[in-house]
Symmetry: C2
Subunit: 312 residues, 2 copies
């Protein structure tokens, strides 16, 4: 089982899957398109979220950062007049420092992630999408800024003129991603932002072609005309895309088999999805508690005609 | 009033001076010969100790680090299998991050230190000895290691074959040091390690020549045949120097006027010091509490024929 993941929505679905199948059966290909150097460390926000989820230390009120982390370094820097773009907790900073040291000693992001997976005694296979540095840059009326600055520091407020994945033109899927895809048939595209989370993974050469050979289920992160969380809507609109599940399905139509939208969605016309040659399935995608996360995961396994319930 | 300072002994004396004269009358020229890159930040251990002293946050049980600091990043890194050479506290790390950012943005160590002085609302003038990177390297039977690794990680245990200040041959006194020395007549050489703390300051071009034109009082960090604290004795012995106050006086004899040794010293022969053309004065240099630190400072001001007691 492979899941393509960004932050928030996809980790929630992974949290559901973990209640049904053993961690070692789960491979997560993680977006690195929001990676950023901050305070001398290389931060890979989505990789960290997935690591903390499997390590059992993710703050599930925010779906990022380490539960109970302190901010003593951040606060002291602020007192001295320096605001970090990313508000790194003290333990979170340690993880990013370890990654940075390993990478400065010649390891790839994939190898450094594997070391962290081992350090946290995680059984799942967590693979960054690429070992090449890709980052999302947003053009606003005040100039170009990193996606994290747009979303975290500026609270997603600036108008978006355009955005791009810097570095994508020379980036490749990592060998570990290609290897994982070669031995798994089932791929879930998690309900993460199709622009900044899933978009960079799909933008890598070969990815769409490989997905065409797999059984792929995508879960829409949009209900009606708004994203469940995050800036997906604003970014889709900036790209001239319809902010709706149909808009998401159009992005994915060439390589997915099943498209899952929310039962509350009163804008979507399933016939339009089916007309793209895709099976449209309405499910409860608002994963507001553990049980609902497991329920959605269970329905997705059923769509794959898998039933792992007996495994645990 | 200028004091040349390293760690421990000199900050204790500064703590005494602060009880007698206003901070703004104190200029500290700080050793940077133990500076080191650690965990992606530029650490200047003696500068930090002096900063924390004046900021009122120095841990006076250890005479380094911030009182009550936490070690959440350090501990998380250790859990993930990475031991830092320097055990940086979380607030301490913030100070080093701010310094590193400023320096990466083109500021000199002197300018970055001035920014920290301002950030901590310190009135004293704290000046690193040089803006050039100098670091102390110790040659042991197992190879060359940084002084901090010798002293902190390896607890000062390895045999010392030799040691050197790397980078000193191309280093200069900072313009701020030269400027401060041009307008002050009284210089104290604090009771810090004459090898790793005072040695690098004196090794900079012009420094000894400038000191010859000043009224200079040096305080010995050695009592009998042992250092009050730290590895001074071992390092002096490695250089073939007599581990005694006389050995220290010989290092300083060309440019000091008064040499202060401890009243407990039963090895020193004051006549031998006087024979070098230096006034030898016995004082209680074991600054074990606030009052004793002020007492020693008072005696030194008297030797300068200054009496600042009325200032406060």
């Amino acid at each position: 089982m492979i899941i393509l993941s960004g932050g928030t929505g996809s980790p929630k679905l992974i949290d559901g899957l973990r209640q049904l199948i053993p961690d070692k059966e789960i491979t997560v290909i993680v977006n690195t398109g929001e990676d950023i150097w901050s305070s001398e460390v290389f931060v890979s926000p989505d990789v960290d979220t997935v690591l903390y989820l499997f390590a059992g230390i993710l703050d599930k009120t925010k779906w990022w950062s380490i539960v109970g982390d302190t901010y003593n370094t951040y606060n002291q820097m602020k007192e001295l007049g320096q605001n970090e773009i990313l508000m790194l907790g003290d333990r979170d900073r340690a993880v990013n420092l370890v990654r940075t040291h390993l990478m400065k000693n010649g390891q790839t992001l994939t190898e450094a992630t594997a070391a962290l997976v081992k350090g946290f005694e995680i059984q799942a296979n967590i693979i960054p999408m690429s070992d090449d540095f890709i980052t999302s840059v947003i053009e606003t009326p005040a100039g170009k800024i990193h996606f994290q600055e747009f979303w975290v520091s500026q609270k997603g407020e600036p108008e978006i003129l355009s955005f791009e994945y810097e570095g994508i033109e020379n980036a490749k899927l990592s060998p570990a991603v290609i290897e994982a895809l070669s031995r798994e048939e089932h791929v879930i595209i998690g309900p993460s932002n199709p622009m900044t989370s899933i978009g960079p993974i799909l933008a890598l050469p070969e990815m769409k072609e490989i997905l065409k050979t797999k059984k792929v289920i995508a879960i829409s992160p949009i209900i009606g005309n708004a994203a469940v969380s995050g800036p997906a809507g604003k970014l889709m609109a900036a790209k001239g895309l319809e902010v709706s599940s149909k808009g998401v399905a159009e992005l994915y139509k060439d390589f997915i088999d099943i498209f899952v939208y929310d039962i509350r969605d009163d804008v979507i016309d399933p016939a339009e999805i089916e007309a793209m040659g895709i099976q449209a399935v309405a499910l409860d995608t608002m994963m507001t508690d553990e049980e609902k996360r497991a329920d959605l995961a269970k329905e997705i396994l059923k769509l794959f005609e898998m039933d792992f319930e007996t495994v645990l």
